[in-house]
């Protein structure tokens, strides 16, 4: 049972809603993932094409907790404005602070992220900042009162998986709030690995929406997150450079 702020979730997999081939595949993938939390972005409507379909038409609004992101913001102030707009919809529960500091790597801006987190907490939001795997930065976000820490595994959409397990381990170890590994997950083993490290959850999007078959990959990720969590709870064997026989050494016939 994962608890963030005043919300509890059965699933430890958070799913983004960007770039699915179409809304039907997206709907089916969301169902297969068994996620409780959906992420999306805030954008202007196209007044020249007001009949444009919207992905929410296919989604049962009562079934999920909504985590809008502040993507597009380059400053804390812009992020706060986007968060408030999202909040005005009346359907949102939390906010993902996402302030990109580099257009090429899409890595977050540590200073603006700290500032936005502080401002949104002051406004009473449930705040989940997307951050780099800088260990001290993660601690400062927690000290401000962030409800969860969301360090990236690798750059958004890169599918590089977990590049620095040591930093994630440090962040998980030091945090008393949930740690959700966000961004960079490319395949089920990456999601499983994040959970094995002790993460409380995984947030991913492109790994599912960009897969050859998003629906199947959504199920794969659901199972991967569960397997990693169970593996973490079960306690893995230590890594050794010496082999150990699984068959007994006594009673040999020869």
């Amino acid at each position: 049972m994962l608890k963030i702020g005043k919300y509890t979730f059965n699933s430890r997999l958070f799913l983004g809603t960007g770039k699915f081939p179409n809304f039907d595949i997206q709907k089916e993938a969301v169902l297969q993932s068994e996620t409780d939390v959906l992420t999306f972005a805030v954008r202007r409507m196209d007044i020249f094409d007001p009949q444009q379909p919207n992905f929410l038409e296919k989604i049962d609004l009562k079934r999920y907790k909504f985590l809008p992101n502040t993507a597009g913001a380059k400053t804390a102030e812009e992020a706060v404005r986007i968060a408030k707009l999202a909040d005005a919809s009346g359907i949102c529960h939390m906010v993902k602070v996402e302030i990109i500091g580099c257009d090429k790597t899409l890595l977050p801006d540590p200073v603006e992220t700290l500032k936005a987190t502080e401002m949104l907490l002051a406004e009473g939001f449930t705040v989940l900042p997307y951050t780099s795997d800088d260990v001290v930065l993660a601690r400062k976000l927690e000290e401000l009162g962030a409800h969860a820490i969301m360090p990236g595994a690798s750059p958004i959409g890169s599918g590089q998986g977990i590049i620095n397990p040591l930093n994630l381990h440090y962040i998980i170890e030091q945090s008393s709030v949930p740690v959700i590994v966000d961004a960079g997950i490319g395949s089920p083993k990456d999601a499983s690995y994040a959970m094995e490290l002790g993460a409380d959850g995984v947030l991913l999007n492109t790994a599912v929406s960009g897969a050859g078959c998003p629906v199947k990959m959504a199920e794969a990720m659901k199972l991967a997150v569960k397997s990693g969590r169970l593996g973490y709870e079960a306690g893995r064997i230590p890594k050794k450079t010496i082999a150990t026989a699984s068959s007994p050494a006594d009673g040999l016939l020869v």
Partner: protein
């Protein structure tokens, strides 16, 4: 009347006098609409009391897929 909507200067029919009128005019398909009127976010219940005047700028905002 000349107003600014989502960054575009548009001329709206004279019979549109409130935010609600404009919304009805566009018949947005999106199930969720958020409105910012002159940098001020509106509550739904204020849509039809909010009168428009020339030069107003309005943002009609929705949710789209994102991660």
């Amino acid at each position: 009347m000349e107003i600014r909507i989502n960054g575009n200067d548009v001329t709206i029919p004279e019979n549109l006098t409130t935010i609600q009128d404009v919304i009805n005019h566009y018949q947005f398909k999106s199930p969720i609409i958020i409105v910012e009127h002159n940098d001020h976010i509106l509550k739904k219940e204020d849509y039809d009391q909010t009168k428009l005047k020339p030069g107003d700028h309005i943002e009609f905002v929705q949710f789209v897929g994102g991660g």
